[in-house]
């Protein structure tokens, strides 16, 4: 029987903890405030329709994703997918974001995987639901399915019709997700494939609650963390008498070298933090390498090389007759630098901890917190609520862990902890520095016949994943958890293999453990690898005496890749760079299996000042089936501009003690007077599976800018960022 006869509100296994807060609004993303609803002790397994989709008693449909809205617009795309299969208007579909005990454990919202994973689960669940509902009515009325239709929440027959809520009476479709005989998103495309505007922007422009930062609870109190002098400093004393006399003081939480304070008003905590950071005494030593260039330090501390790919003859044989070229590239540490400092709200009462977090992975965070706090997972609930754009693993998990530690010491009140700007800039885990060395040989026809790549990288993800040491406060507790190990090495070699047709290829990877905290930043290693490979391709094209786009096409047999480059050429064919200007191009296929993306940049360089302005950027992206081309366009535009900022401005600086890039003046990013105009073409291929798009632009955008700078100046910059000193004559 397709339909469960167990009512969903009375079903055993539901426990009311008043946590899943459902908004009163129709359609769009559910607000995080509003009336309480019951949540499941254990959600249905992911192969069930009701794990992803519920028919509400008011006839609306709720879809449940284990992913988070991070500003990438995933919410709208997921609603489009469900509305399409259920033939329902989008404002009758509401979205529930990642929440422990409610949604599926979909790991992290990362790697441009949300459409490919959560999106396809929701699509299949909705299509299965449609087919089961029609079958149910067909049996009930004894009419052939072919004579029935599902439209805007009602099933119509020739003579009668019935609403879904009348049909289901509050029960859910507890059935296995099958292989639907038809996907309307592939054929009809009433919502899917269309540039549907995001509903949440309409809420944002009037200041409706959307962000975690805007959640308020009765009697909520405010926390701040007192930061140590260095990563491994130990607290000697707070150096302040009469802490209790500070305005609004409620509680000091001092566990080992972890120091948090709670006050009644938020600004009281801000001031007390500042005062304690001045007065506190720390045992610390200078621990960061500043006497030698970072690239040298990286090479000094790296592990022995590991050959990750070897094809054909490798690089080392009888090459005297070939035209050789080699070059070395580097990128510094760069930061996520969220515009909104990380925030969390924690509430501990009667042995149960509730957290509101903008973490990218509520389940992995819960698992890790359970170890850190020595509490069973079932006593911790985490609700995902959007924060500011994070572009990867920023301070979201750290601040949640800190708020949790505070809450355990101060039960019964909601504790709101927001990081200050300096907390975010100086303590988040950065995108690691990397060194990339390339060698290649060309034959007399200008074809690449040897390719060797040597790569140095720290791990690219120290997300929680069950290891308490990945959470910043863990280092400072009595029980020293130390620094997390290595992290995700796969991130370093991401896109280290060129997408070009190369027969003789060798890639060597050297892992190192760098001086700064590092974790996943948009694109991971793909960013630096593509920057290096695509810069080098331009250098080789020049050596071969070929047009850079032709040179790439000569080594590219994948038609979709070729199409991107050809369309990019078309988009820029009328651009004639003026004196001091240059145009550059680059291409990559993210992860060599996700979106194809080709980018061009027109730059202008003032040699007397060395200042670079990117005037315009063009992008062509093929993400397979485009669920929402407008969302893909927005992500690609933003990715290009963010990448331009990384390329031209960004570098995390540190002294022997700690990071000194602590705000927007000491860590400048691209601002309005310097941002390019952008133009993006989205190639929609409904017959293909959808491919992750959100990170595709990062690598090629920077390479296109560097290639353009070379065309404008004849100077090849191989170390990021492109500061004006590097180009000043």
């Amino acid at each position: 029987m397709a339909i469960s006869r167990r009512g969903f509100l009375t079903q055993l296994g539901y426990v009311s903890i008043g946590f899943s807060l459902m908004g009163a609004t129709c359609g769009g993303m559910e607000a995080a405030q509003g009336k309480n609803v019951d949540v499941l002790d254990l959600p249905p397994t992911g192969d069930r329709v009701n794990a992803w989709l519920r028919i509400l008693e008011n006839g609306e449909v709720q879809i449940l994703t284990g992913k988070m809205e991070l500003g990438q617009g995933i919410g709208t795309a997921l609603i489009q997918l469900a509305a399409e299969e259920l033939n329902m208007s989008m404002d009758k579909v509401r979205l529930h974001l990642a929440e422990t005990g409610v949604t599926q454990d979909e790991g992290y919202t990362a790697g441009s995987r949300s459409i490919e994973s959560s999106g396809m689960s929701i699509r299949n669940a909705a299509a299965t639901a449609r087919e089961l509902l029609l079958k149910l009515v067909s049996e009930k009325w004894d009419v052939p399915i072919g004579e029935l239709s599902l439209e805007t929440g009602r099933i119509y027959g020739a003579e009668k019709d019935i609403s879904l809520e009348e049909l289901l009476k509050g029960q859910q479709i507890d059935a296995k997700i099958g292989k639907p005989s038809k996907l309307l998103g592939k054929t009809r495309r009433k919502f899917v494939g269309r540039p549907i505007p995001r509903q949440d922007i309409a809420d944002m422009v009037i200041g409706k609650q959307f962000f975690l930062h805007d959640l308020r609870f009765p009697d909520m109190v405010h926390a701040r963390i007192v930061r140590p002098r260095t990563y491994s400093a130990k607290l000697l004393s707070l150096g302040m008498e009469n802490l209790e006399a500070s305005p609004g003081f409620l509680k000091l939480v001092n566990i080992g070298s972890f120091v948090g304070i709670l006050t009644k008003e938020e600004y009281q905590a801000v001031q007390l933090k500042k005062n304690l950071e001045k007065s506190a005494k720390w045992d610390y030593k200078q621990e960061l390498p500043v006497d030698i260039p970072l690239e040298t330090h990286i090479k000094n501390v790296a592990d022995p090389p590991e050959t990750t790919i070897k094809k054909g003859k490798g690089i080392l044989v009888d090459q005297e007759h070939l035209d050789h070229h080699k070059a070395s590239y580097s990128k510094p540490y760069i930061m996520h630098a969220s515009n909104g400092p990380s925030c969390a709200i924690a509430y501990f009462n009667k042995g149960h901890l509730k957290l509101w977090s903008h973490s990218q992975g509520v389940y992995p965070l819960r698992n890790t917190l359970s170890k850190l706090l020595k509490m069973a997972e079932e006593h911790i609930s985490i609700k995902g609520v959007p924060g500011a754009g994070c572009y990867g693993h920023n301070g979201a998990d750290d601040v949640a862990a800190e708020a949790a530690l505070m809450a355990l010491e101060y039960p019964g009140k909601h504790i709101r902890l927001q990081w200050m700007r300096e907390d975010e800039h100086a303590w988040e885990p950065y995108g690691t520095a990397m060194v990339m060395e390339l060698q290649a040989a060309l034959n007399s026809q200008g074809k690449i016949v040897r390719w060797a790549y040597d790569l140095w990288s720290d791990g690219h993800s120290t997300r929680p994943g069950g290891d308490p040491s990945s959470l910043l406060p863990a280092r400072y507790l009595d029980q020293g958890y130390g620094r997390p190990n290595g992290g995700y090495k796969g991130g370093g070699i991401r896109n280290s293999e060129p997408y070009y047709d190369l027969d003789n290829l060798q890639i060597q990877f050297r892992s190192f453990k760098g001086p700064l905290r590092a974790s996943a930043l948009r694109g991971l290693g793909a960013y630096a690898n593509i920057f290096a490979i695509e810069s080098f391709m331009d250098e080789l094209a020049l050596k071969a005496g070929k047009d850079p786009i032709d040179f790439r096409l000569d080594h590219l047999s994948d038609d979709r890749a070729r199409t991107c480059l050809e369309r990019l050429r078309n988009a820029t064919k009328l651009v004639v760079p003026k004196e001091g200007q240059g145009i550059g191009h680059a291409f990559s296929r993210y992860k060599n299996e996700a979106s194809y993306c080709a980018i061009a940049a027109l730059v202008e360089v003032d040699r007397s000042s060395g200042k670079v302005i990117v005037r315009k950027m063009w992008g062509v992206i093929d993400s397979g089936e485009a669920i929402n081309p407008e969302g893909i366009r927005n992500q690609t535009e933003g990715g290009m501009v963010q990448s331009a900022s990384w390329a031209l401005k960004e570098e995390v600086k540190f002294n022997a003690d700690h990071i000194i890039s602590i705000d927007w003046n000491t860590y400048p990013i691209l601002r309005f007077p310097e941002t390019p105009d952008v133009e993006v073409e989205v190639i929609d291929r409904p017959d293909q599976p959808p491919l992750g798009a959100g990170e595709a632009a990062q690598g090629p955008a920077t390479a296109a800018i560097l290639n353009a700078i070379y065309r404008a100046t004849g100077s090849r910059i191989r170390s990021l960022p492109v500061t004006s000193e590097k180009l000043r004559l």
């Binding site: 991070l70 200041g207 008003e265 969220s338 400092p341 700007r421």
Partner: protein
Amino acid sequence: MAEIYLHLTVNGIDHSLEVDAETPLLYVLRNHLRLNGPKFGCGLQQCGACMVLMDGESVPSCRLPVKVAARSEIITLEGLVGAEGQLHKVQQAFVDEQAAQCGYCINGMIMASAALLQKNPSPSQGEIREKLSINICRCGIHDRIIKAVIKASKLK
């Protein structure tokens, strides 16, 4: 740092508050008046996330002592909405142009743009860029924001 009573006019409503007079306006708007528009971004007047209109000019509120703000007319993002709920033309244009990704900066972008259009009803692209130069957008959607402001300048 004694708490005092002061009067603050926000979005046309007069509030009597008991606060520490040195508290920056931002904290009073968010925590006392429960407004979501102005956001904490840096607390250093470097990013514009906390912008409000003070006597018609866009200013960061994160360091502005509330006692100073009390002498002026304060408008927040919420206060741009008309009496019948109609959006301000800048708000409408940001929706139309889908000028947001994460949306954390949108408050400052809209407040600064509203102040600009008040003084200069048809700004050039250069003037828009200059006006918004304090406003940080980390998602990189500057181009959409500029298009939204130009669009707003053409709306009634």
